[in-house]
């Protein structure tokens, strides 16, 4: 029987049965569970394909992928910190944008005064941490609402930054600093593998290779070198990832933990292929960007902290039920303090990256709006506005989705004003979907 079009003249009984049949089929294939679980990934893929078609696949080209990472490094770093604050009960930190400006400004002053860049980096991190500890004190111990304490910080630290820089732009255009924290030609891992594996580059530059077909959007006429180190890093990371997953599956099997092995194998294969593909793409450009080194480090550490450590567990528990957690012997106030001290530290790192990206810090607008990008990435990535729910992996997808949308709209030259409208709508729709899918469950 054919499904009748909705609103057609057929009797409602017939419509109902074909509709019911459709629903039944959907239920059998577990389409709804699948959609619910992987909404954001599906949205991400759809957005990539849409912008790919509109931009002639430029969005996936070696250059744009590399740029995407450099432009959004601060979002990933700050969102990792923001996620921990949100986990404690939907608390946010509004001050991070200003703290980025302040710590970056301190770094600029130190480096301009001729101090070794590594001292400057250390001071920037410690300043961020100190600010986090300071704000965390008010929030955790005195119980000033986080929203207000960090709003105060948002005003104050931008003011201090402007004062210490004398209202002038701070300069961070120093070759050694940019090499590690910038996005210039030199800000990549040096290709030391090229001499160890001398034939690889030549082989890869052969334009008849199958990989050329894998990289839509990349203009191979302009490609003159292949970064062997970048590709090797990709292969090593993918292998480590597969090894960890295999170990996990085997342990689960040994302990008789119910699991869906095909789903785990599929996700493992897809993620390792993605890692390989991104590294292959970047290898045809300038190689493995330093920004990605810092981002990967931060994401790896925080995925571990939230998943595997006691403090991570406490963050989820406090957000899920603070009273029960306190009665379980957890010092809940210290959990808040940890979350805010931690985001201060990460704001310090983001300050370093912002100074590197812009080759300096302008106190008028450096870090402006960073806090909102980080918050949006967490919520799009499925964190609960009430706390207790949210994962680093979700946040990564949220931040990537936002980054891709920004990038894509720039590539198809959407006016700036409308870009903001689209970002707002994406946030609303993402959270709306989350709220609705939860309501259906109840």
């Amino acid at each position: 029987m054919l499904a009748q079009p909705a609103g057609g003249g057929g009797d409602s009984g017939g419509q109902l049965t074909s509709w019911q049949k459709f629903i039944e089929l959907m239920q059998r294939l577990k389409v709804r569970e699948f959609l619910q679980k992987y909404t954001m990934i599906i949205a991400l893929v759809a957005v990539v394909i849409a912008f790919g078609i509109m931009s002639d696949w430029k969005i996936l080209s070696n250059k744009e992928i590399t740029n995407l990472i450099g432009e959004n490094a601060y979002v990933f770093v700050l969102a990792a910190g923001m996620l921990l604050c949100i986990l404690t009960g939907g608390n946010i930190d509004l001050s991070v944008g200003s703290v980025v400006c302040f710590t970056g400004g301190i770094g600029c002053i130190m480096m301009s005064a001729g101090i070794n860049m590594w001292w400057a980096v250390l001071v920037m991190l410690l300043t961020g941490l100190a600010i986090g500890v300071f704000q965390g004190f008010w929030i955790a111990k005195i119980r000033v609402p986080a929203f207000i304490a960090t709003l105060a910080g948002m005003y104050a630290f931008r003011g201090i930054a402007s004062a210490i820089l004398g209202g002038q732009r701070g300069n961070a255009d120093f070759a050694d600093f940019l090499q590690f924290f910038g996005v210039t030609k030199t800000s990549y891992i040096p290709d030391f593998m090229k001499n160890l594996l001398p034939n690889v580059e030549a082989a890869m530059l052969n334009k008849d290779g199958f990989w050329v077909a894998l990289l839509p959007g990349t203009n191979f006429n302009g490609v003159k070198n292949f970064n062997v180190t970048c590709m090797c890093i990709g292969i090593v990371v993918a292998l480590i990832f597969v090894a960890l997953k295999v170990r996990k599956i085997l342990v689960q099997k040994k302990m008789n933990i119910s699991q869906s092995i095909p789903a785990q194998v599929a996700s493992t294969v897809l993620i390792s292929l993605l890692i390989l593909w991104v590294c292959l793409d970047m290898s045809f450009y300038r190689g493995f960007p330093m920004a990605l080194v810092w981002v990967s480090l931060v994401l790896g550490i925080y995925a571990y902290v939230t998943n595997k450590t006691a403090i991570g567990r406490h963050l989820y528990a406090v957000g899920g039920n603070e009273k029960a957690t306190a009665l379980s012997g957890v010092k809940t106030r210290n959990v808040y303090w940890f979350a805010y001290a931690n985001i201060g530290l990460l704001a310090g790192l983001a300050g370093i990256l912002a100074a590197g990206y812009n080759k300096g810090i302008d106190p008028a607008n450096a870090g402006d709006g960073y806090e909102m990008d980080a918050i949006a990435a967490c919520f799009i990535g499925g964190a609960s506005a009430y706390g207790g729910i949210g994962k680093v992996s979700g946040m990564i997808i949220g931040a990537t989705l936002m980054g891709i949308i920004n990038k894509g709209m720039n590539l198809i030259s959407t006016p700036q004003n409308y870009q903001k409208v689209v970002k707002g709508l994406v946030l609303l729709v993402a959270v709306l979907f989350d709220v609705l899918s939860k309501r259906q469950k109840r």
Binding site: S258, T309, R313, A317, G320, K323, T325, G329, K331
Partner: protein, 514 residues
């Protein structure tokens, strides 16, 4: 014979897994004061919530016939329109607002976009005088005492043109004097023709004020006693109805009863309320628990049992503590933190598993390990495999019915949630377990399983304190029973010698003496 104002016919209300009301029938005549009595959880409040539309039509079975018509309320507004007004045990007033604002909250005078404040305050004052309050209606609620707040609630009900007024434990937070004034006010309303339903635990008040007394037990109306005789109905007569028949075999037999030395002892333990610091919530309590012993603490709601247990558990409740806490005969000073109590091998299993016990958004596994993460981690890094194994072990031990320990606790039934809560505290490996209402709101089968767990714990040499407001449970499970009332321990009995009547009588005597 006066006209029947309200008739509730064959009301049945089921919650997931529990039948809260089972074919309840209730008749209230116009102009009478009708009392509902029964133990906690017998179904009195549920019945009143059905009547007032909090549980809307369609969520229960049976008929409500009010003033000759069958009613189908879909919310409180519907029932209030007909003059059925309920005053809840917990006062529903906003402290920062004035009396007048509170009285007309949601029922504002004038247009909803242009409130007529003059009329609001004039009307409010009029009703305040009717309940005997001299305060201006412009006084903020936080500035008047609890007794007067209760009267404001009644004035608020009058302002809604109440014809049938339902009072749920109206005197539970009042002192003797205020209570008496309130009851006299009810009697004067009755003279003016108002119909009232009162829910109360205080049987002396019930027999003083009520015309008829309906006894509710286990979700069913047992009997209605007429209180029109020359002598008021005796409290013993009401208690007989409340307690009812003996139920056999509800409790598993204790085996291997080996009672050892005193492990936990408190002497002259006094705790004050955290907000009203002059009020004592635990008053000069002395008690002890021996190894392998199950000690019951019985008392009505608000007697101070939870406060006692939580104050022993690292002073998790209250302020201005005094008295002595001894563990194994040695004086111990616990710092004000739950973690210190856990270190001293004390566990408190809360009565409020959703509010204070479990993280509903997390899995069984995460909840089980929460109070003892050290046991499954090294250098504060959690060993996921160890954690899983531990959660599995307790799932098996406590027969938690779930497809996997990765299941979210929020998706479990009440009985299984309670088992997860017990698993969490058993995993913390305490020597002393303070169990606060461990079987509240769960079905009979799960109760039996939890009783078995309690017996196993005692047999393993743990000290168990069982706090309960279910008399049969305390009698059936304990070796020794303390009776609490109004923050004090008013009696201690060996379970073998105690009866339901003797315990209830002890409580009533102390209440009257105070």
């Amino acid at each position: 014979m006066a006209k029947i104002l309200l008739e509730m016919k064959n009301i049945t209300k089921t919650f997931p897994g529990v039948k809260a009301l089972d074919n309840v029938n209730l008749q209230v005549e116009e102009g009478e004061i009708h009392a509902l009595v029964g133990e906690n959880g017998a179904g009195k409040s549920t019945l009143m919530n059905v009547l007032s539309g909090i549980y809307p039509f369609g969520t229960y079975e049976g008929d409500i016939i009010y003033d000759g018509k069958v009613c189908r309320f879909s919310n409180i507004k519907d029932s209030e329109k007909l003059g059925i007004v309920i005053i809840h045990q917990e006062l529903a007033l906003v402290p920062e607002m004035t009396i007048g604002e509170n009285m007309y909250l949601g029922n504002e005078c004038g247009h909803s976009l242009a409130i007529n404040w003059n009329k609001t305050y004039a009307e409010a004052d009029k009703y305040l005088r009717m309940v005997g309050l001299k305060e201006s209606s412009k006084v903020q609620i936080k500035n008047i005492g609890t007794g007067k707040q209760q009267l404001v609630e009644i004035a608020k009900a009058l302002a809604k043109k109440a014809r049938l007024l339902i009072l749920d434990e109206p005197t539970s937070s009042l002192n003797e004097e205020d209570s008496r004034a309130l009851l006299d006010l009810m009697l004067s309303f009755k003279k003016q023709g108002m119909t009232m339903i009162i829910i109360s635990h205080k049987l002396n008040e019930v027999s003083y004020v009520a015309d008829k007394i309906t006894v509710v037990r286990d979700g069913a109306t047992i009997e209605t006693i007429d209180n029109h005789g020359k002598e008021p109905v005796s409290e013993e007569r009401i208690i007989r109805g409340m307690v009812g028949r003996e139920i056999t075999n509800r409790f598993p037999k204790r085996e291997n009863v080996k009672i050892g030395d005193v492990r936990l002892e408190v002497n002259h333990w006094t705790v004050h309320h955290p907000l009203y610091t002059e009020r004592k919530v635990v008053d000069d309590v002395s008690m002890y628990v021996r190894q392998g012993e199950v000690v019951g603490i019985y008392g009505l709601m608000g007697a101070g049992r939870t406060e006692l247990a939580m104050s022993i558990f690292g002073r998790s409740y209250g302020v201005n503590f005094s008295g002595e806490l001894k563990l194994d005969g040695k004086h111990v000073h616990l710092r004000k933190s739950a973690s210190d109590a856990i270190k001293h091998k004390i566990a408190y299993v809360t009565e409020d598993r959703k509010g204070n016990g479990l993280v509903l958004s997390q899995s069984i596994k995460v909840n089980t390990s929460l109070a003892n993460l050290e046991a499954i981690s090294s250098h504060s890094v959690i060993d996921g495999d160890k954690e899983y194994a531990a959660a599995e072990e307790y799932r098996g031990k406590l027969k938690i019915k779930t497809p996997s320990v990765e299941q979210l606790v929020g998706n479990l039934s009440g009985g299984n949630q309670q088992k997860v809560l017990l698993a969490k505290w058993m995993f913390a490996e305490p020597d002393i377990l303070l169990l606060d209402e461990p079987t509240r709101g769960i079905d009979v089968g799960a109760k039996y399983e939890i009783y078995c767990i309690i017996n196993d714990l005692a047999a393993a040499g743990k000290c168990v304190v069982l706090i309960s407001s279910e008399l049969p449970e305390v009698l059936g499970m304990s070796d020794r029973i303390y009776i609490m009332n109004e923050a004090k321990i008013i009696g201690e009995m060996k379970a073998a010698e105690a009866t339901q009547e003797s315990i209830m009588t002890a409580i009533l005597r102390s209440g009257r003496g105070a």
